[in-house]
Point group: C2
Chain length 251, copies 2
């Protein structure tokens, strides 16, 4: 029995979701509601003490961390009926890991901070002082508490500027790589593409001044190519996208 | 032919170094001198455009990123004459990856910032303005340039305080884990231990107020157990530790 605890099909939750769809591995999705902070509720924190999705329950064993889950699925489901997304060649596999590592250590953080500033802040500000403090109390990770306080009271402008610089460099790096290779880790579509797509998809809208057909044609083409894959279409059709209340971008 | 480009036996360079010693894989070490910024010289940047060690040259193919190199060595050297440091069981392997990921995303950064503040800053301040700017120009990664400027002109006190908090939480996390398990990923000594040891070893001296037999007995015991392994002793005996010029801690 494979149960995936996740949010909707975006960010870190998308990584194992799309991996499972692409490989055709049967699983039960269990979507948590971020607006209700279900991931910080005691029943879930018992499952993952960090109070974070995604988390995979495989016959009672819980695997956490999105990238680790994707590699775990490769280690467990080796039958060719589930096509692999990890190169067999060790050198290409190392390239794949350089890219899955980069998204986790660099790319995802800058995009996340700007996303929090634009979207989560509205949620944080809509709460009463009491509701907010009660929520903060339930957040297990100290750095997440800091992020929530910043979402409510404002991120330091110099931090936002720094993060925007990192986003610009990330887009340039992806564009450069995709100008020399069809997929990030080389000739084949791999976990490197899925894990980076999890963050990059949607930037055509949220960061359209950077991610458009003129400024980053290869990146846009790569985002489109992944969106057009049947597994990706199926995932988006079958998985509820959450609506964050009062999270409309400023006019 | 296996050539490892590295600094001395500490931090990220220690990860593949100790892995190679533990597994008995023959290799040629090529130690670069950080005080002379050899890793930013054109010949090396051609090899690794990030200008960072460690980097592994395997028959002309270059693998970068210390943790990726350790996994690469597992993927390539599968002969039982080179004992594996990666659990065969997928669940335990996932635990190993949670720990190698954590050190790369969290533990190493806070220790590194304090280390830069205490040690590298003396190097950065010893340079003339001209030398310093010339050096900065050769640093390929923008975030590293920022770190160098901060080393020369001072890290923001609130950043140092934040990083010290992270170090305290890291030590508590390691101590808690080692109270329930002999090794980080479970019953066996794995890459999880090597990659965390790379950062933790030396904290008995540099952070003795946190890492001592009273405050963190399991962590100290774990550090000692790894230091006592014959492969570790051999590595330290055969690998030159670099002396950073003018890097004595303040009296």
């Amino acid at each position: 029995m494979l149960t995936l605890y996740c949010f909707g099909p975006g960010a870190n939750s998308l990584k194992p979701l799309l991996t499972l769809y692409e490989r055709g591995i049967p699983f039960t999705p269990r979507q948590l509601n971020p607006a209700k902070f279900e991931h910080n509720e005691p029943w879930f924190v018992k499952l993952n003490p960090n109070g974070q999705v995604p988390a995979l329950d495989h016959d009672g064993k819980v695997i956490t961390e999105s990238t680790v889950i994707c590699e775990y699925l490769e280690d467990v489901f080796t039958d060719p009926q589930y096509p692999s997304l990890r190169p067999a060649d060790p050198y290409l596999r190392a390239q794949m890991r350089v890219w899955t590592k980069w998204v986790d250590e660099y790319f995802c953080w800058c995009v996340s901070t700007i996303g929090w500033d634009r979207m989560v802040s509205r949620m944080a500000r809509a709460m009463s002082e009491e509701e907010f403090e009660k929520h903060i109390e339930n957040v297990p990770i100290p750095e997440q508490k800091v992020k929530w306080r910043r979402a409510r009271h404002g991120f330091p402008p110099e931090l936002l500027e720094e993060e925007m610089g990192k986003i610009r460099r990330s887009v340039a790096r992806l564009e450069a790589r995709l100008s020399e290779s069809p997929w990030l880790a080389g000739p084949d579509y791999t976990l490197a593409d899925i894990c980076n797509f999890a963050i990059a998809n949607g930037m055509q809208n949220g960061f359209s001044e950077l991610v458009n057909e003129k400024a980053a044609p290869r990146l846009v083409d790569w985002i489109n190519r992944i969106n057009e894959r049947s597994a990706c279409k199926k995932m988006f059709a079958e998985t509820r996208r959450e609506v964050v209340p009062d999270a409309r971008p400023a006019a």
